[in-house]
Symmetry: C2
Subunit: 303 residues, 2 copies
């Protein structure tokens, strides 16, 4: 199954990812085999408020990022994304652009359960695609909450997309985007207040602690493919910067620590005899009937 | 020991908290006994950039919050706070104000190890003080990172303190403070750009999703005790709001879930045979030698 998926069999690929997403025993075995094969792909996260034009931008980036003799995968965690089947009237993205290209694989994680579930399976799906030989990974998330910010921070390069307007700049700032953005994109740059928004973002960024990488603020009109080339170039520059400074190693170590902590919690929860045991313990902690350390001990002992 | 600490014996109190902080077996036993006695205190977090005047404000709030026949504890997680022994020249706080008041207990967690250690022991120390009968808890943190934001979100009411100036408003926004603030305070309100800062913050808050509680933006001159009374009143109003709307129960349940997850991770790490096992596994995950789920399983199996 893994060999067929690696060779590009789309149905095998879908089955492997579904098993991993559902955390079945086969999924665990697949992950165990795939993870050590990975570490060579580059993941680019695209996040921003709904309506900023993330999907159109992703669609434009695909053609410029897909390697000639390699593969690219898009993981859509935004339920309103056309990649997730959530296309709305007026959305000008044409999925057909990539429908015939077997170097491009698109996977939606948007309709697979609650938000917590989505954000929890995303790192595993990305690691699996990495191990399956996809050189480029694009992750589209809707950045309106802590969970999405967490997903974004698992990417090697994070692009934050905003629309022109002071409101959007402030929203980006409020959502914690200034911390996570490696590249800022003001999309819909044919609108009048584009320059002001770029200046606002640059001013906000300048107030932060100096960093070895200064996130550029780029503009694009994704629907007309304007500015997309420069964004892809910025992704490449950012990649070179992380590699050259050694920061990539630090980032991937931090990511590993987060993944281990999440896996420990999942392992404990999955193996506790009663599925509701965790929820019940949380309620009892909230009611001050039991302390968190004793509760953790009882979950660990129940394994 | 617990009875002496509860009765107000300061040395017993210090010993109990130290055992809990160091996670010794006695500390675990203390926690086990203390946690179910708690749930009655109100914790107010005061956060903001260094130099905003948090400590002076805390000092002013102590006298107005301490119950006549009860007790108040200050937990300082900011290494630069005078409460942590880090007073700097020009700091006008007089700790002597409260030195003779045995209803007030001050505990610094600032010099006890790395940041991760600090933020990890803070919830346990707060829960212990709660169980020891302190009705009011004030937590001072320096809000310049994710860890501090996490600490702040464990408080029932979170006050974000900024200095006048557009830079501070933007910094507050960048640090994720707009999300966590229940009350905003623009301190040093004798400075010229105070009104503009209040307006900026109110405009930023207005752009956010509507909430059942609208964080007020207050002003103070903490060094002259101006505005402190209104801040304490706002804390009381916020408390009444959380209780009346039932939101308090939701908040405390979310907090319990976070505490349980942290306790599980701590439990696994503490009992792994090799102290360095976790760090080694993280490095191996980062190097793609082992997947996080297998690594978690090996840590759990090693217990």
């Amino acid at each position: 199954m893994l060999e067929r998926a690696t060779a590009g069999d789309v149905r095998a690929l879908a089955r492997v990812l579904t098993e991993i997403e559902n955390r079945t025993p086969s999924g665990r075995t697949f992950m165990h085999d795939l993870f050590p094969r990975g570490g060579r792909s580059w993941s680019t996260g695209i996040t921003g408020a709904p309506g900023a034009g993330k999907s159109t931008l992703v669609s434009g980036m695909i053609g410029r990022l897909v390697p000639d003799d390699g593969r690219l995968a898009v993981v859509a965690v935004d339920p309103s994304s056309p990649f997730s089947g959530g296309a709305i009237l007026g959305d000008r993205i044409r999925m057909a652009d990539h429908a015939g290209d077997d170097r491009v694989y698109i996977r939606s994680l948007a309709n697979r359960g609650a938000l917590g579930g989505i954000s929890e399976s995303t790192p595993a799906i990305l690691a699996a695609l990495d191990g399956l030989g996809f050189e480029e990974l694009l992750v589209e998330t809707v950045g309106v909450g802590q969970s999405e910010v967490e997903i974004a921070t698992t990417a090697d390069t994070t692009i934050v997309v905003v629309s022109p307007g002071w409101g959007d700049a402030v929203q980006a700032s409020k959502a914690g985007f200034l911390e996570i953005a490696d590249i800022f994109v003001v999309n819909k740059a044919d609108r009048p207040d584009t320059d002001a928004t770029v200046r606002d973002l640059e001013a906000m960024l300048a107030l932060g602690a100096p960093m070895s990488w200064s996130p550029p603020v780029l503009t694009s009109i994704a629907t007309d493919s304007v500015g997309v080339e420069a964004i892809v170039e910025a992704v490449h520059r950012h990649r070179e910067h992380l590699v050259a400074t050694g920061e990539l190693g630090l980032r991937r170590e931090r990511k590993a620590a987060r993944e281990l902590a999440a896996a420990i919690r999942q392992g404990v929860e999955a193996s506790s005899r009663d599925r509701n045991a965790t929820a019940e313990l949380v309620a009892r902690i909230a009611a001050h009937e039991i302390d968190p350390w004793t509760a953790a001990e009882s979950l660990l002992a129940a394994r």
